[in-house]
């Protein structure tokens, strides 16, 4: 639950003032709300928080949560309660690429600890920290349902399975080259939901 970050990704104050969904995102939100019966729009909270996280810097600031509450016409505390319950919502800023290494039984038995150690050494940060360029955050996570591809890591919506140290090199280099947002927030909601 604690997403500690080494400073670099502090959300820009000028951006903070502009917490309003894009027209496209707002359209998606409205569409999501129609999936539920009349008056049950609170059901949209989880998907809308994902969109908010994607839209507003990869994490949920208090201002973002306030905004989501106003969009869904619910109390801010209802948003905060939910946002703090689920592990995919970041309550603090994270790196552009959130490398989440599974550490539960199957992945552990196939060497996930070595993957984590290697990543720490390679990126020069510890689990829970973000590289000084704001590019990578290393996280350890609990079972992601990819035990057959153990050891694995997730970045954004991509599963990287059957990891070896060489594979980790390639993955990190590819992300570095792409250089774009690959946290949970880059889930490209607009095309799909």
């Amino acid at each position: 639950m604690s997403n500690q970050v080494s400073g670099a990704q502090a959300f820009d104050k000028t951006q903070r003032a502009k917490i309003v969904f894009s027209d496209e995102a707002l359209k998606t939100v409205q569409k999501i709300i129609t999936r539920y019966p009349e008056g049950k729009h609170k059901s949209a909270l989880l998907p809308v928080l994902h969109i908010a996280q994607a839209e507003f810097g990869g994490w949920l600031s208090p201002e973002t949560m306030d905004y989501v509450a106003s969009v869904l016409k619910i109390k801010p505390i209802e948003v905060f309660e939910v946002a703090s319950f689920y592990s995919m919502y970041n309550l603090k800023p994270v790196g552009k690429c959130n490398l989440e290494v599974c550490r539960t039984s199957s992945c552990w038995s196939r060497g996930s600890e070595d993957i984590v150690k290697y990543l720490e050494k390679k990126l020069g940060v510890k689990v829970g920290e973000t590289t000084s360029d704001g590019m990578f955050t290393i996280k350890t996570v609990e079972c992601l349902g990819s035990c057959g591809g153990a050891p694995m890591l997730q970045c954004g919506s991509s599963f990287h399975e059957n990891l070896t140290l060489e594979k980790v090199d390639t993955i990190v280099e590819n992300y570095r080259m792409e250089g774009k947002q690959k946290s949970y927030t880059d889930l490209d909601y607009k095309n799909t939901l």
Partner: protein
Amino acid sequence: MAKVTIDGQSIEVPDGTTILQAARMIGGDNVPPAMCYYSKLKTSGGYCRTCIVKVSKGSDKDPRPMPKLVPSCRTTVMDGMEVQNNTSPEVLEARRGVVEFLLINHPLDCPICDQAGECHLQDLGYENGAAKTRYDFPRRKFEMIDIGPYIKLHMTRCIMCFRCIKVADQITDNRSQGMLFRGDASEISTYIEKVIDNDFSGNVIDVCPVGALTDRMNRFKSRVWFTKPMDAHRDCKKCSGKVTLWEKGEEVLRVTSRKDKWGEAEEWICNECRFEKKHINDWVIEGPRQVDPHSVISLNHYQNVLKLKLESGKPQKQMLLGKK
């Protein structure tokens, strides 16, 4: 109507009555303890698991026992049901387990806790706890928070009964406080430490079974057993105005709702009565309050002393010492 038998004592109760309510109707020493259930709050109960009992016979129709221990506060009686509470070693052991779980992360700071003396966890630990803890890891800690000028939130003491959240949800109109995070990192908090701004918000103090939510104005003023509870009332536009004053000498240290023998508020009171009427002249005094027989304050015998005072004009020494 349904007939239920709890530890050999039978009672006929209306359909829909829970085992715990039935046990309270029977009364006596055989009532399961309840830390999260609160009869005046809808959907309360079921969380703390201290009131678990064994249903050894489901009903006359279906006499099979229930496979697991059940929370008596959330299990409705069936006609012919037989329940074991204190007569079941299994129940007593499980309950001791629950008490241990509730205590492992509790700070046990009773010497400096304002709730001490009227704390349900203290009573529960005294009755069902072990003398020694088996937990030797650092305990969970939180920073204290002031929720506005009147309420202190000391989350470290919280046992997560959810009562205060249900108060906020059910008797105030704009809840700003809730349960955050999850698992043993859960905490009660207000949204970004916002003030609970509502006329009835002070009732969260009364429903809190421990010292997690206390009256800031009464902080460290007196041990509860050195104060005298007096029933009093006033004309109030917001609530019934029926309260208990906690006096020390001529001073009103604290105003609370009147609590019944299960420790529950008889009626919710407003913040004006609770926090702003602290002068004895604000109130019409009715007389001493009968307090929970479990609590240490009832050992103070002040009523007897008071009675003696009234009769002879002079208290007898042995009464003051609490001897018979």
